[in-house]
Symmetry: C2
Subunit: 115 residues, 2 copies
DNA sequence: ATATTATATGCATTGTTCTGCATATAGCAT
DNA sequence: ATGCTATATGCAGAACAATGCATATAATAT
């Protein structure tokens, strides 16, 4: 092993986070600002527990952080490398849209888009 | 599903290729030019069959192409997105070094580095 | 205290990927 | 042809990741 092989292990771990359609979709949503779990749930169309599990993976890898506000928990991306990797594969960030059936402040219009 | 969800499936597939320490190491070697299988075998310190298997994954995803020259088979990267992703995570390309115990033209000094 | 809403966690099952090993092919030299 | 070297392929067992579902926690309201 010529180079520091831990570099490849750690690098692969970063790519593994993005190597999953649901996590990629979640991160794409979070690109345009923070979002709460119920919003991601509405966007992805998956059970809440499923969304929380994927968020946990991203949280434990320090890619996103959570911020509680009452009952809602807002997540946002805190790793700028991830933003650049997303841009390379998904293109430019699109503005977040409101979701029917999502009770969060963003979707019910109580908040400006992409705070 | 708000956006075209095939985009996330395909994007995830690209990241999955990089989400493996050995493939990442192989691609890092290929960044500075083409390399033959025996060279990669010497650099990674893994069995030849193992290297060929990882190369197959990359080849079938059209990330690398192979070029035969006598007994040797040279591989090189043909996807520029992959180069940019590697640069984001591994940093700038380093020049290829020669490997002890590798019989390929590059390592036995019969060829200039990084053709 | 109870109910309700939003989110998190644990666990079992299924599905995928990794890896080692045996063997196959292909080019070159004799 | 035979042998030698470089590379490829197939397959099976092990390791790991994904998913569904039941349940736990935590904040708020009544």
């Amino acid at each position: 092993m010529s180079k520091n092989s831990i570099q490849y292990t750690q690098g692969a771990a970063v790519f593994r986070l993005l190597a999953h359609p649901s996590r990629l979709h979640i991160l794409d949503e979070l690109r345009c600002g923070s979002a709460c779990v119920c919003h991601l749930q509405a966007v992805l169309g998956r059970p809440q527990a499923y969304i929380s599990q994927q968020l946990r993976v991203l949280r434990e890898a320090d890619v996103v952080v959570d911020e509680k506000d009452g009952l809602n928990v807002y997540y946002r991306i805190v790793d700028s490398r991830i933003l650049r990797l997303l841009e390379e594969i998904l293109g430019e960030t699109q503005p977040a849209q409101r979701m029917e059936g999502c009770p969060c402040p963003h979707c019910t219009g109580q908040e400006v888009c992409c705070s």
